[in-house]
């Protein structure tokens, strides 16, 4: 994609920023691990998760966070700006799918180290499990992570589409980012209402916990299919909402 190329060029123009982000990624992930170390110092497992298993969740969380912050959030947040300033005109004038175009037009490749570090952490932690995952488990985990990305993308797109009605919705994307933060810990760490919300309403918990469960060999085929269905549903819904939203676009006067 040429859009991606342009984003990369932009990112590499600021090479110092790239290196900085890489170190930042390691620092923040390390920071996120600290509470885990503190907790698991005193007890071998929490809510059925050992330290290494919880570390897998943290790794996946970091990877997903990198994907969101680098490739979903900046693009869709920029849509809000495009709508507000009316420069979405130029996107709509191009003979390609507008949703596709805005979804890639302002990626921040500097977040890539974040994704890589997160995956590496998950990989390292899973290799320390008493029963290390095989090819099938790894494939299932990656598939679930892909589903998670699709669900997040769908959520984001729907939230951002409301910009066509309300114009300023940047704050909603902050809300989403902070909700995403809850995916840092395995789902079973939470209880009651919170757990219900994180599983079914805004399925953040499912995004990081299920791939980790897959690595532990605890996701069966029907479970994976269900997540897959949810992912597809979110994606389709996001396209519908976007379609409706675009007809409401009023541009900005000049």
């Amino acid at each position: 994609m040429a859009q991606m190329r342009a984003s990369w060029m932009l990112a590499l123009q600021y090479r110092a920023g790239f290196v900085g982000e890489a170190f930042g990624a390691i620092f923040w992930i390390g920071w996120g691990v600290l509470p885990l170390i503190a907790v698991f110092e005193r007890r071998p497992e929490v809510a059925g998760w050992t330290a290494d298993e919880a570390l897998i969740v943290v790794g996946f969380f970091a990877a997903l966070q990198g994907i969101v912050e680098g490739f979903i959030d900046p693009n869709l947040r920029a849509v809000v700006e495009l709508v507000r300033q009316g420069t979405l005109d130029f996107v709509l004038l191009k003979p390609v799918d507008a949703q596709l175009l805005v979804s890639f037009h302002r990626s921040t490749p500097t977040k890539l180290p974040h994704v890589v570090t997160g995956l590496a952490l998950a990989g390292w932690a899973s290799s320390r499990l008493p029963d290390p995952p095989g090819v099938l488990e790894v494939a299932a985990a990656l598939l679930l992570l892909l589903c998670a990305t699709s669900i997040l993308y769908g959520l984001y797109t729907m939230v951002v589409s409301t910009a066509f009605w309300f114009v300023r919705v940047d704050n909603l994307s902050y809300l989403l980012l902070s909700i995403l933060d809850t995916g840092r810990w395995p789902l079973s760490f939470y209880r009651g209402a919170v757990r219900f919300v994180l599983t079914f309403v805004v399925p953040i918990g499912l995004m990081t916990t299920y791939p980790a469960l897959a690595l532990r060999g605890q996701m069966d085929a029907p479970g994976i299919v269900r997540v897959l269905a949810v992912a597809v549903a979110f994606f389709v819904a996001s396209r519908l909402v976007w379609r409706i939203a675009i007809r409401r676009y009023a541009s900005a006067s000049s």
Binding site: A2, A6, T87, S253, S254
Partner: protein, 334 residues
Amino acid sequence: MIEVDELTKVYRVPKKTPGLWGSLRAVFRRRYDEVRAVDGVSFRIDAGERVGFLGPNGAGKTTTLKMLAGLLVPTSGNVKVAGFVPSERRAAYLSRITLVMGQKQQLLWDLPPTETFELNRAVFGIDRATFRKTLDELVGLLEIGSLLDRPVRNLSLGERMKCELAAALLHRPEVLFLDEPTIGLDVTMQAVVRRFIARWNEQTGATVLLTSHYMADIAALCARVVVVSQGRVSYDGALDELVRRYAPDRRVIVQSTREPTAEELQEAAPFRLREGALEALVPSREVKDVVDRALRTLPVRDLTIEEPRLEDVIARLFEDSVAPVEREAKEPSA
């Protein structure tokens, strides 16, 4: 090429009473005003024509252009451009048209223009050979060869506009919608852009619909004009005819040997001091009387009779058809 029938666009603009309390109330209960930005506009434009689209601010020019380009969905009425319905935004349609807006830019701010060109090449699916050829042509006509590798943020407004035009024409569109392409440019740069548009139209046979606040643009480029005011077409035809119809006047200009006294001015009647000379706008049949009187009463050194300026004509046309009070909120601000 372009067929517009009874085109109407109604915006719903949130209404807010002033002050904090008004803002608070607007959060919970929004009230809307309906603004008819375009109200039953019809016209036809043939392939290869260059047509000027005139009207005061907020007359509905930009809204009409945006509906033609498929950005806005009309509230009612029909539009057909090159056989397509613009609001369906089919890829085949979008690759046949272009919209250039003097107030907005598509160039990537931190990168050289070539990057935007390359991006458009990919997005429009132009093969490299054709791209190279078109780009060379555009670079030659616009004289932008030396700008291609400089970041856009380092270019001047005029340089940016030239690159903007190049970016918008790489896919060789058949229809050009140009919304104030010369706005903010200095006189020389305006002339360059104007010349370019004329040459491009002649070379490619593309249809051009142009709005501008600079009458020189319209005079130089468009034999035909469509005038809109208050969302309706108030004139559609030859520019010459428009000038004749709304400006039967001549400008009689007198250079005087000395400052005329108030009495002399009063006797000479319609003369006013304008740009260091005495000037009178008079209907053609009265020209003789006015000149006679001027020669008798004023200390004349030189006297000339000229065609009225296009600006004056248009201003008068708008005064005729426009109630100035309602002008402001024609297009929504967001």
